[in-house]
């Protein structure tokens, strides 16, 4: 694996808005992050925090209209994915940067045999003959642990179970040996035992092939087991970023703290579960100051008017909390996040 100082992917000030009849929905509102070669970045946040939209934006899969990439850059190996011509992008998309989607039940084409769908990336990107692509497709199915791969390639998606389909999706995403894999909640639609198998599989293949992964989830337990670094999102903005261990054991933002406190496994049996009061804000309305200030137990007047941006506190660990910056708030978790804790939902 080649390691250099420039990250594989560097995203700066990404903004994706949806122009709807009811106003401009600022789904992603100025996030920045980077991914190094071979590492896993976890993006965590609750539903509607803009995690998925950010990943679709990177792949330029946002339906336009109503969606529009308003600003920002996403530099992958020296090329800005957001500004390069569609024709050049197609050579990167599905080849060097691939994606796994959330719902394996709907993301495979029900009209085409699994083999055909697996072969496609090889045929368009690698210029393989159909025979070679087919052999490679069978091997890819074997790699993701599908029994009888030689005959299974001829089956249609509906002849596979949900977990098996997600294995097919993974095989499809990794068949071109990409440098970056974007996994958008790859286990959300699966039940817990299958979840663990799929996560192990992604980890194993990532290790073997040295693929960098952007792992998107709302499951803190999954993140703690998968990610080297974490980006916490709230209402389309980044609130905290850092090495997974630091963020989990020493959160520097009240939102991250609240998320960790909400993990059911960190409560004593029978104890009332901790919840964050209120609802996420409507991102089609202007949100001056810190987006979390409306629900934050520690918010002050200044939080609602001063722009909240990520500031680095220590090496690689940043928070957008104004009060943490000023030193007037010390965030402490009341609970301990268990690295293996399943079912910890953001």
């Amino acid at each position: 694996m080649t390691t250099s100082n420039t990250p594989l992917l560097k995203v700066d000030d990404l903004r994706t808005y949806f122009h709807t009849r009811n106003g401009v929905v600022k789904a992603v509102d100025g996030i920045s992050f980077h991914v190094n070669r071979g590492e896993t970045l976890g993006i965590v946040g609750e539903s509607g925090s803009g995690k998925s939209v950010s990943s679709y934006t990177l792949m330029r899969l946002i339906p336009t209209p109503p969606g529009r990439i308003e600003s920002g850059s996403a530099v992958f190996d020296g090329m800005d994915l957001l500004k390069m011509p569609e024709k050049d992008l197609r050579k990167v998309r599905g080849n060097r940067v691939t994606m796994i989607f959330q719902d394996p039940m709907t993301c495979l084409n029900p009209y085409l045999r699994v083999g055909e769908q697996l072969m496609e990336p090889l045929l368009i990107h690698k210029g393989l003959s159909r025979d070679d692509a087919r052999k490679r497709a069978i091997r890819a199915l074997e790699e993701v642990g599908i029994q009888g791969a030689a005959s299974r390639v001829n089956h249609y998606p509906h002849e596979f179970s949900g977990g098996m389909r997600q294995r097919v999706m993974i095989a499809m995403a990794l068949i071109t040996e990409p440098e970056l894999l974007i996994a958008d909640e790859p286990t959300t639609a699966l039940d817990v035992t299958v979840q663990a198998q799929i996560l192990d599989l992604i980890k194993k293949l990532q290790r073997e092939k040295g693929t960098a992964v952007v792992f998107i989830t709302h499951d803190l337990g999954v993140i703690s087991g998968m990610a080297d670094r974490v980006l916490v999102m709230y209402a389309g903005r980044a609130v905290e970023t850092g090495v997974t261990r630091d963020v989990f054991y020493h959160p520097q933002h009240p939102y991250t703290q609240a998320l960790i406190d909400s993990i059911p496994a960190s409560h004593a049996p029978g104890e009332e579960l901790f919840t964050i009061k209120g609802l996420p804000p409507d991102v089609s309305k202007p949100l001056p100051g810190c987006a979390f200030s409306l629900r934050c137990l520690h918010a002050e007047e200044a939080c609602r008017s001063t722009d909240a941006r990520i500031h680095e506190l220590s090496a690689g660990h940043g928070s957008s909390c104004l009060r943490v910056h000023q030193g007037s708030l010390k965030v402490i978790t009341h609970r301990v996040a268990h690295a293996s804790g399943q079912g910890a939902h953001a």
Partner: protein, 311 residues
């Protein structure tokens, strides 16, 4: 699949029986008879005619006689055209109507699918509105109006195409357009709807994420599912084309089965009405079956159900 086809044909038998029986009695209830003319015919002549065509028997005897012959493929003599049998007339008329129907269907599919797919790619833009407005006009414009209009423009003003008959390929253009246009319009709307539905599916996003070109996404990933509604429509459409061709056949003076059908109804030509009705029923059953088979072929998730509800 063979089992499926056999079952479907077996299920068609009672349908045909009911259709035949109902038609048989209904035409006899209708006022007037096959031999009513403006000039009164003497009682003896009328009696002779009735005996000649078996109409002096009680109705139930006529019915069983007719059914016995029909099963053997003899649809009886035409009441209006002396010396000609219904089977004979069907044999001359059907191929013409069938040919007309096939051309009309090809035209309808070609134009309809193209317009629908093009419209679905950029919904709510000019690329959508123009073909869809034209298709709305196509649906609203009946062939009684479109036929003469085409004759006027291409036959009489430009003198490019013959205005009637069914001889050379030039003769066949205008009738096919007239008959097919309404269906083209309907198919356009069906394919637009089907394509829009499929294009919004998650697996289309997967296909784009693979780096496929737009063309590949549309042709390889979207069309097969998107045209499902059209495939299901082809069967009923062909049946409709065949039984609905009489206007076109009348406008262009084509001796097809559609004209025989309508003339027979006016003439109270009992055997002819029955014969053509049964024929149309058989065709409707057959083409619906064909359509269902095609739907299963196009969608791997469907199977040939031999139990209830054949889909």
């Amino acid at each position: 699949m063979l089992k499926f086809i056999i079952k479907r044909f077996a299920a068609a038998i009672p349908v045909l029986l009911v259709v035949t029986t109902l038609t048989f009695f209904l035409v006899r209830i209708a006022p007037g008879g096959p031999f009513d003319t403006e000039k009164a015919v003497s009682a003896e002549v009328m009696q002779a005619l009735k005996r000649r065509y078996n109409l002096d028997q009680p109705v139930y005897v006529q019915y069983f006689d007719y059914m016995k012959n029909a099963i053997q493929g003899d649809l009886g003599p035409s009441f209006k055209y002396p010396g000609r049998t219904v089977t004979e007339m069907v044999k001359t008329g059907l191929p013409v109507t069938f040919e007309l129907g096939v051309y009309a269907m090809i035209w309808a599919l070609l134009i309809g699918v193209t317009a629908g797919v093009v419209a679905s790619l950029r919904p709510n833009t000019a690329q959508d509105y123009v073909p869809m407005t034209m298709s709305m006009i196509g649906i609203c414009l009946p062939s009684v109006l479109l036929g003469p209009l085409l004759v006027l423009v291409f036959g009489l003003w430009f003198e490019w195409l013959p205005v009637s008959g069914w001889d050379s390929w030039q003769h066949k253009i205008l009738p096919s357009l007239t008959l097919g246009s309404g269906y083209a319009a309907y198919i356009a709307r069906l394919s637009r709807g089907g394509m829009l539905e499929i294009l919004s599916q998650d697996f289309i996003r997967t296909a784009r994420a693979k780096g496929l070109s737009n063309t590949a996404v549309v042709f390889k990933h979207a069309m097969r599912g998107g045209l499902g509604p059209v495939i299901s429509f082809i069967g009923p459409a062909i049946a409709g084309l065949l039984s609905g061709s009489f206007v076109t056949e009348t406008v262009f003076q084509i001796q097809g089965i559609g004209r025989f059908y309508v003339q027979a109804a006016f003439n109270r030509d009992y055997t002819m009405i029955l014969g053509t009705t049964v024929l149309f029923s058989v065709m409707i059953v057959f083409f619906n079956l064909l359509s269902d088979i095609m739907a299963v072929w196009a969608n791997p998730r469907l199977k040939f159900e031999t139990s209830k509800g054949a889909r």
